[in-house]
């Protein structure tokens, strides 16, 4: 009996101090995306895939999976304990209820950790996409500033390309006089042209409209950020739910304590008198 009281006392202490803030755990593992900056040019859909693959390799993902499994086990255990309640004696039912409360407490703890991990994942993703957004904005600003130069350079390249034939045909630039650079230039240029044609003919190139148009890419990334923010808002609501669950568990624990106390009173049949009330001590004075 003493043991049971001690357990109940512990439940009350843990239950009353229960709040999601106290559950904050910093050892949830971390995820730092290991994606090189060159990957940023990928279309958002592929980028998101790469990001998810990167996450799956992180410690945070492993911890998330483990916690998920733990939660499933806890729920199974709680329903198992609940099924045991029917047909149990009074003493046994107290013990089972006690076990249910402990499991519920663990479930809330794990669920809270799970939500924190999911939040961390979403936060990291959001930061990543925001970084890409910033880079794109900076690049578009830079390209606007240097657009005149880029146009001049493009026209210079066109003019020089149009002279390739002339240089090859020109008698003053015959084979013996042609430089090593120009010979290599011709070979490489032909190879580049072949590759360019292959890229244009590639079926994925036609599908990949987002990668071609930076405005579309920006819009797609904005949508990803919006989705992440929505998911985070849903998580915040779930956190609130966990808070309420914790309160219910604390109330359950208190109710169990009361029930145990009443049962103990009934067993011992000792009527304790409150001597602090003068009404109860009148007999002491009168008799």
């Amino acid at each position: 009996m003493k043991n049971l009281n001690l357990k109940i006392f512990l439940i009350i202490i843990t239950g009353s101090l229960y709040s999601t803030t106290s559950l904050a755990n910093n050892n949830l593992g971390e995820w730092k995306p290991q994606i090189v900056e060159k990957m940023y040019i990928l279309p958002p859909k592929h980028l998101n895939k790469v990001l998810n693959n990167d996450f799956n390799k992180s410690i945070l993902a492993v911890n998330l999976q483990n916690t998920d499994n733990k939660i499933k086990n806890k729920i199974e255990k709680i329903s198992e304990l609940k099924s045991m309640l029917e047909g149990a004696s009074k003493e046994e039912s107290f013990e089972i209820k006690h076990q249910i409360i402990i499991n519920k407490r663990d479930y809330i703890k794990d669920m809270n950790n799970l939500l924190l991990m999911k939040k961390q994942k979403l936060d990291t993703k959001k930061i990543f996409f925001k970084k890409i957004q910033r880079n794109m904005k900076r690049n578009s600003f830079k390209s606007k500033a240097s657009s005149k130069f880029i146009n001049n350079k493009k026209s210079a390249m066109k003019r020089s390309e149009s002279l390739d034939f002339k240089i090859l045909e020109n008698t003053s630039y015959n084979l013996s006089k042609r430089s090593k650079y120009f010979e290599q230039y011709q070979i490489n240029k032909d190879a580049v042209m072949k590759l360019k044609l292959a890229i244009e003919k590639h079926p994925m190139n036609n599908q990949n409209i987002l990668a071609k148009d930076p405005a579309n890419k920006m819009e797609a990334i904005r949508n990803y950020v919006h989705n992440l923010e929505t998911e985070m808002a849903v998580l915040a609501m779930k956190e609130k739910m966990i808070n309420y669950m914790a309160k219910i568990v604390a109330l359950d624990a208190m109710s169990l304590v009361e029930n145990v106390a009443f049962a103990a009173d009934g067993q011992n049949e000792i009527i304790q008198t409150n001597f602090n009330d003068p009404v109860n001590v009148i007999s002491v004075f009168t008799n």
Partner: protein, 127 residues
């Protein structure tokens, strides 16, 4: 003393790094200056000039092509680079001369406004 050595080392390494960063445009500019000096050099024979200009042309052609196709200069182009591409005919002498099908010295002089016609039309006047 050790601080002084450290400072000197840092300054020298920075200087060395900047010299390494010299881009293709700088090399082209140097070669172009040499070629133009050759055009304006009165102390060499016509034959020598022709021979040396031919070599210079080949070098310039390569350097011009390298500069035009260089992607490094796209990032943060300097004022000098921007101006170089604004004035294609002055910067890329050999390319410009091939377009006009003239020798690059004539093409350059014409671009400056020193054509035979202009020179013939000039009059000596006293101010």
């Amino acid at each position: 003393m050790s601080k002084f050595i450290k400072t000197i080392t840092i300054i020298l390494s920075i200087t060395a790094a900047t010299s390494v960063n010299a881009n293709s445009l700088d090399t082209l500019e140097r070669e172009r200056a040499k070629a133009l000096a050759l055009v304006l050099n009165k102390s060499i024979s016509i034959g020598d000039r022709k021979k040396q200009l031919e070599n210079s042309k080949l070098k310039l052609l390569d350097l011009e092509r390298i500069t035009i196709n260089s992607k490094d200069i796209n990032k943060n182009p300097s004022y000098q680079t921007i101006k170089a591409f604004e004035n294609f005919d002055f910067t890329f002498l050999v390319h410009s001369s091939l377009e006009k099908e003239k020798s690059f010295s004539i093409s350059w002089l014409e671009k400056l406004g020193l054509t035979t016609e202009n020179l013939m039309n000039t009059r000596v006047i006293r101010k």
